[in-house]
């Protein structure tokens, strides 16, 4: 009986997070790879351990937390929200108010991370619940507009509340990722400077990466668990048919409010971590584009799935870097200009003012798209493409690969 797919002999096994052996093995391998990345031991993945890539992976972890939050609201409860950036901003500024320096020119209480990080989530959640009653009265497009309004209110507030945010185009420094028990001089753990852990030399960015990956892991577990509870099922019933859900006794108002609260909590945590990770943030950071990025993560990754939120985050955060590297590679091919590859590359790349090409590598002067423009175009195409051809997103592709191997070597 063992090893047969989809055959479970107990309810616990059926509902288990890792209900198959291959899932357990895969997760174990994934964690092993994750831990080893900064030490550059796996051939082929060594480049990921370099500073630039580790920073991208850390950003991915933060975006994953934010995306998990939006996934609960949009993917599970079916409520569209463009206001995610606003709640991230609320979290960030709560964090800096509590954790910022006391003696500086701006608001700050100098409290440690174990206070400012949870508080960032809680304050964002409270504000989410406070604006909830307005938001849950409407649905669909109207809800999108209401939440869009939040972003603009936030934008105005953040730009003008200079004593907290530092002011438009100026910004302020955020409390670093370091652990203190209270306000003591030197931190117990400093996640940004190199030191020795368990006898191994660990660089600052590697420590940051470990912390953020751990936090992302914890929030993933929480999100995954939420999905399997009464609350999660209530969310999904509202998403699938709100009237039917109410008839079954699901309190639509209360659950929508709860979804807003939980989603905002995640956003607040992600915002606080992002600001702390970036060290200096200007108020314009929390703009509509950030919200749209999260929508893109959910859509590209696969709405309503935890794995999708994670895959989508990695995709959206890493895509610009991959496009950039690809362009640089094409450019080097075009400049060397040998063989068929060089000729093909030359068609795509404009290398001088007079050379025709789709992509321009001369800092934007001359014909063609710049790399940044190319990124935006790709973004748009990918969102449209996924919506039309793969509504389940990257998760859907992953699912098909998984199902193929489930029955292997048979096709069904």
């Amino acid at each position: 009986m063992k090893g047969r797919p989809l055959l479970y002999t107990s309810y616990e096994a059926d509902q288990g997070l890792l209900n198959t052996t291959s899932k357990k093995v895969m997760l174990g391998l994934f964690l092993l790879v994750l831990v080893s990345i900064p030490f550059q031991v796996i051939p082929g993945l060594k480049f990921l351990g370099q500073g630039g890539w580790l920073r991208l992976l850390s950003t991915t972890a933060i975006f994953a937390i934010g995306a998990l939050g939006l996934n609960i609201l949009t993917g599970l409860a079916g409520q569209v929200s463009l206001g995610h950036a606003f709640f991230m901003g609320v979290g960030a500024y709560t964090a800096v108010w509590l954790g910022g320096p006391v003696d500086g020119p701006l608001l700050g209480l100098g409290l440690p991370i174990w206070i400012w990080l949870p508080a960032a989530g809680i304050v964002a959640a409270l504000i989410g619940v406070a604006v909830g009653p307005t938001a849950v009265r409407v649905r669909g497009l109207y809800l999108a507009i209401v939440t869009l309004g939040l972003v603009f209110i936030g934008d105005y507030l953040f730009r003008n509340w200079a004593s907290l945010t530092g002011g438009a185009q100026v910004g302020r420094d955020f409390p670093p990722l370091e652990f203190r028990w209270w306000k003591e001089e030197s931190p117990v753990i400093d996640f940004t400077t190199p030191s020795t852990w368990f006898g191994v030399e660990v660089s600052g960015i590697a420590k940051t990466f470990f912390l953020l990956a751990l936090l992302a892991g914890v929030y993933t577990l929480l999100a995954k668990n939420l999905q399997r509870t009464r609350v999660g099922r209530a969310f999904m019933s509202i998403r699938d048919r709100d009237i039917a859900a109410e008839i079954m006794g699901v309190n639509e108002f209360a659950y929508k409010l709860l979804a807003f609260g939980i989603s905002s909590f995640y956003a607040g945590i992600a915002g606080a971590l992002l600001a702390s990770f970036l060290t200096r943030v200007i108020p314009e950071q929390w703009n509509l584009f950030l919200s749209v990025q999260f929508i893109a993560i959910i859509l590209i990754g696969g709405a309503g799935t935890v794995t999708g939120a994670l895959l989508g985050s990695a995709f959206v955060v890493l895509l610009p870097r991959i496009v950039q590297n690809f362009t640089l590679w094409l450019q080097s091919l075009a400049l060397e200009g040998e063989g068929i590859l060089g000729a093909i590359a030359n068609v795509f790349i404009a290398t001088s003012q007079t050379d025709f090409g789709l992509i321009n590598t001369m800092a934007g002067v001359g014909p063609g798209l710049s790399v940044a423009q190319l990124n935006l175009v790709l973004y748009g195409l990918l969102i449209i493409g996924f919506l039309i051809f793969e509504p389940l997103g990257l998760f859907g592709i992953w699912l098909r690969i998984r199902n193929y191997w489930k029955g292997w070597p048979f096709t069904y």
Partner: protein, 461 residues
């Protein structure tokens, strides 16, 4: 019943992890030596060029990151806004840098080393700026420019930790502040001293003026500039009859109307507006429409754009009479040797005349001199280039820009000289100029001269 032991185990594990990860309680356990060692050892495994490689390569030059003695290349980084709000300017500046270095390479490079440029688009976003800095710092020997004040501020702690040099592409007065500038070499007059220069120059043109209206965009740019404007007004006995500092928001037309109304109703004889060209044109036009005329106008360098006096611009004629252009370097058509060199470079590259190429050339000239000095001293490491830049007593640009110095007290080394031009719509129309004609070279006003500079005029916090 089963719960308790589980929690105990968890707590114990957490405690152990805390103990293991702790930095040992002492304040300075991570020695600076270890911190400085990091970028050279772990960050760039691909580049095996350490001091040992230098011995077998050309000459006795110490190198760490960004110099490949075998391939005879030297790589510099540019953190540029190529898709954000300043993209139209920065694209030209980057092109100016590329032209300059291509010329250097054609003439033998830096001691035979060919200079390569790694340009990255930060989109004027501090987050991307930091990300791209981290990416480039393991590939380049120094940064040829870093666009934007909050952005440069965001990488500044890392620059200091890594010991890398950067040239800020912003004229914030803090870049000359000793508390901030250990890894930066600024150039050009800072916004706040620029305001002193220009406002005093306006009072020379209109000796009877007693009132001034000031307005600006928010952020370091507008605030720093208007901090200088307020100081200048005090020193010159001008009454500030309208103060719209930080009010101008390009995206919000209502703020432009408000500022224009404020300036018009103040009846000021002098107007100092520090913003970008589009909102400036709108404010000037609206004030004009409200019947406000006869005042002299000026604003910090980036406020001006020749398009304001293009043939199809409705404000071309009145603005040409009212406006004094502040500039960090001489305009395209100026007669100096440095300007001629820029014109040659741009023409050789087949590009159209634009003023901003000069900025790229100025930045590149400073870095060129730093690299050459470092090479001559036999130390082309990141730290060596930084030290070389900080030892430069005089960098000259052949009249294109005022000489720079990076040694001495902040009050002595801060740049106070600048250029002043007048709009030239006729020259723009027939292609003999880029829309402005030079009226003052290396101008420093007495107020700016007397100003005691010890720290930034406006704190970025």
């Amino acid at each position: 019943m089963r719960r308790k032991p589980q929690w105990l185990v968890l707590l114990l594990v957490l405690g152990l992890i805390l103990a293991a990860c702790g930095d040992g309680g002492g304040g300075d356990t991570t020695t600076t030596a270890a911190a400085e060692e990091e970028p050279t050892t772990t960050a760039a495994p691909a580049e095996e060029t350490t001091t040992s490689a230098a011995e077998e390569g050309a000459g006795d030059v110490a190198t760490d990151v960004g110099v490949d003695l075998e391939a005879q290349t030297l790589t510099i980084g540019l953190l540029s806004d190529l898709s954000g709000p300043f993209a139209p300017l920065v694209q030209v500046i980057v092109a100016g840098q590329e032209m300059y270095w291509a010329d250097v390479n054609a003439n033998g490079g830096i001691g035979g080393l060919q200079v390569q440029i790694e340009t990255r688009d930060t989109a004027y976003d501090p987050a991307q700026h930091v990300q791209l800095y981290e990416e480039l710092k393991t590939q380049v020997v120094a940064f040829g420019h870093s666009t934007g004040s909050p952005q440069t501020m965001a990488i500044n702690p890392q620059l200091q930790a890594d010991g890398i040099l950067a040239i800020p592409l912003t004229w914030y007065s803090g870049w000359s502040d000793p508390a901030i500038n250990s890894n930066l070499v600024p150039h050009g007059v800072p916004y706040c001293i620029e305001a002193m220069n220009m406002i005093e120059y306006l009072t020379v043109q209109a000796p009877d003026a007693t009132t001034i209206a000031i307005a600006s965009s928010p952020g370091d740019y507008g605030e720093d500039s208007n901090a200088g404007a307020v100081l200048a007004a005090e020193a010159l006995g001008l009454e500030v009859v309208y103060n719209g500092t930080g009010l101008i928001n390009q995206a919000d037309e209502a703020t432009l109307t408000e500022v224009a109304g404020g300036i018009a109703s103040s009846g000021a004889e002098l107007v100092w507006v520090t913003t970008s060209p589009t909102p400036f044109g709108s404010i000037y036009g609206q004030a004009l429409a409200a019947g406000f005329s006869g005042a002299l106008w000026s604003g910090a360098g980036p406020t001006w754009n020749p398009a304001l006096v293009a043939p199809d611009s409705p404000i071309s004629e009145p603005l040409s009479n009212d406006f004094y252009i502040s500039a960090y370097y001489a305009p395209w058509a100026a007669e100096s040797e440095g300007n001629a060199a820029v014109r040659d470079l741009v023409t050789a590259a087949g590009a159209d005349p634009l003023d901003y190429y000069a900025e790229g050339v100025i930045e590149a000239t400073i870095l060129h001199q730093a690299l050459q000095t470092a090479y001559d001293a036999g130390d082309l490491t990141q730290a060596g280039v930084l030290a070389a830049a900080k030892s430069l007593e005089s960098v000259t640009f052949g009249g294109l820009a005022p000489d720079e110095t990076y040694v001495g007290e902040p009050n002595e080394r801060v740049q106070r000289a600048q250029f002043i031009s007048r709009p030239d719509p006729a020259g723009l129309a027939d292609g003999t100029s880029t829309g402005s004609t030079l009226v003052e070279s290396n101008y420093t006003s007495p107020t700016a001269e007397a100003f005691e500079f010890n720290e930034a005029c406006f704190s970025l916090g």
